[in-house]
Subunit: 414 residues, 2 copies
């Protein structure tokens, strides 16, 4: 991390809150002035007076998106009509946009297709992983603490492939691995706590057991380096509406490592994943490459909005995003310590950088009421049942002044 | 059918083509003047000088859509951000829009949810149908002549439920039904020939054999009455980008008859189909009603474009659409007979109204070249391998003058 983001914790000592507040406010100004990603904020349309710390649920609107949507609807659809499938590049959008996501998650081109929801892609990836693992491996491990849709779809994948699903806590995965293990579905960052798991180490352990690693990147992609290729991940899925700012419910993506593509056997072999989709042959012959992960007709309006949204990444490296993300979350914790009376909130997110995603979760009594009060004062995070305040920090549009204000308003509310 | 659409076939006799052409042109004027759906055309943005007969592939743009998209992106997403899931009604869009489709396909409210692609919905519907049929029925029948994605997904559904898939021609379905039959997947209108199948009769036959009928409505919904409830269809799916004009790749829908909902057991049990989606419980408890057919986060931009597109149906009954559709296709055949030299094209679509969807398919040598020439002259249909010219007639924006011009230009090209 670069010097400019250094955020040594303020000791909440005898000088009292006033001194800490003054120090935080001054520091925010300094950090913002030195922030090389600050200019990215201009690429987003954010409402005046709002500190938006819910980009880990729905990313903010990139300014270029409404204009592109207008053009896609009025000209590409309205005027060119059916010709746009070729002339406007609609047909190849899933692969083209996949290749825009690739550098953000550390994948070489040709391994990601965009389309369907994360849940549907989890089903594809997990069933395909089980089939790649072969018939003598009859167990699927799934993170028991994960976002629940992963567990629901894993249960269905197990039921429909005749495997047993075994939910385990992430820290138990290494012990649970064995010759029965076919595949392991893990979340890179826990949606509630913001804890970052050890993708390189866990993937290596899964491979050592002869199984396949399937990663859900919903809460990490766009916020921190993933290194899919570098760490030999087998399959991965993720949504695009959090740190990738694709818009509400924008299409998800599926990563199939190049080495597995020829044997990727989808449970949803739709016509657009066919080697010759317009041949209309009765037999399904899968396309080469990641294309065989496609299913139905791509959802063009949402997909092209996403393509435009990904334009904010031009010239931005994921390492600088990660550096700022850690600085933002460090600084938020520092400001909370300075402003909020001791004992009123409890830090849920790990302090160690190596275990932290791009959010801070605080346990707090009456968390639901507290979040409503925060939102009424223009600080938007979200509440997770039963007692968690979640604050997400998107480095491309959140500044250090936002962070200071959020902590200050939180202290006022409490 | 009302008197005004009467379109008695012109006998292509000794008077020759010139007389027939004069008669066709005059008749088109009369028919357009009497067309009570003519005003609907104003609700669509169609390029000048184009006769658009490809609405059975991609429906035209309803004029209200770009404005709605602008509002959804700039205000609902950009300003209200995460609040829009409640305040802008995003969360309930799949059911709300399903209820807009219901009257078009003859379903009472509460039985249709919008989301995912047709292919994904076929998988859900067919697996659920097999599970509803019980373990002692081990065979799935699928229309062997259908749009191929139906067959591909049916094959996967069979493989993953341990059933056998048996492709049959639609006319063989009755003989193929038996005590082994779990479910039958049929297309209401064949995508290539435009043939309309006997949904009431086939559904009754399937039920008599104790099996479930799953219908694919892609090429019928919005063009003719379907009567899902009236004919006791069990499950149905359809796309929304053809006669429902939802836009390129707009979300598909799933119909689950009310009597089956409590036992509908989805192979894709995603979190948004959960009874308490924000409870984040590790066990999947399906929601009541059609909601349990939902999977992942709804794709809001595309979904709300579709909602606006469905506004063109306000005050329009499907029976009047069907009457005009038959008049248009009758008149097209009449004009083709009058203009095109005998023997140059062959009618693939059945002449009998009871067997005709809303398209006319003509077999023709060099069909690919002919279609390219037609499109260059502003008459847009499409080509289906190897030798079929397809012309789709969307009654809400195609007029009789368009039909006459299309046939005239076809004759010129030939």
């Amino acid at each position: 991390m670069s010097e400019k983001y250094e955020t040594k914790a303020v000791t909440h000592g005898a000088e009292g809150v006033a001194h800490g507040a003054e120090a935080c406010a001054a520091k925010a100004v300094r950090l913002d002035a030195a922030d090389e990603l600050a200019k990215s904020r201009e690429l987003f349309a954010l409402p005046d007076g709002v500190v938006y710390l819910d980009g880990n649920s729905l990313g903010a609107l990139p300014r270029a998106v409404p204009g592109r949507l207008q053009d896609v609807a009025a000209r590409e659809w309205g005027e060119l009509l059916i010709r746009s499938w070729d002339e406007s590049g609609w047909w190849t959008a899933p692969e083209r946009i996949g290749d825009l996501i690739s550098p953000i998650v550390g994948a070489a081109p040709g391994q990601i297709v965009v389309g369907d929801s994360t849940s549907v892609n989890i089903f594809k990836a997990l069933v395909a992983a089980v089939r790649l693992a072969g018939n003598d491996r009859d167990e699927i491990l799934v993170d028991a603490t994960t976002f629940p849709t992963d567990g629901y779809l894993a249960e269905s994948a197990a039921r429909m492939t005749g495997r047993t699903l075994r939910p385990v806590r992430p820290e138990e995965v290494r012990d649970a691995l064995g010759p029965r293990t076919a595949a392991v579905l893990l979340n890179h960052v826990d949606y509630r706590s913001g804890r970052l798991y050890d993708l390189p180490g866990l993937t290596a352990a899964v491979h050592e057991a002869g199984a396949l690693a399937v990663w859900d990147l919903c809460h990490s992609a766009g916020a921190l380096p993933v290194g899919l290729d570098e760490h030999s991940v087998d399959l991965a899925v993720g949504c695009t509406y959090k740190y990738l700012n694709g818009g509400p419910g924008s299409p998800a993506y599926l990563y199939v490592a190049a080495r597995h593509q020829a044997r990727f056997d989808s449970p949803l072999p739709g016509w657009t994943g066919h080697a010759n989709p317009f041949g209309m042959t009765p037999e399904f012959t899968p396309a080469d490459g990641a294309t065989r992960g496609r299913v139905g007709t791509p959802d063009i309006l949402s997909m092209l909005a996403l393509e435009t949204a990904l334009g904010v990444w031009e010239g931005v490296g994921i390492d600088s995003v990660r550096a700022k993300s850690l600085a933002l979350t460090d600084f938020f914790v520092e400001c909370v310590r300075a402003y909020v009376p001791a004992g009123r909130v409890e830090l849920v997110t790990p302090s160690a950088h190596v275990e932290r995603g791009s959010q801070i979760a605080l346990r707090c009594d009456d968390a639901g009421d507290v979040m409503r009060a925060l939102i009424a004062r223009g600080v938007v995070g979200d509440f997770r049942h039963p007692d968690v305040l979640r604050f997400g920090f998107t480095p491309l549009y959140v500044g250090f002044g936002d962070v200071e204000r959020a902590a200050r308003v939180l202290a006022e509310v409490l």
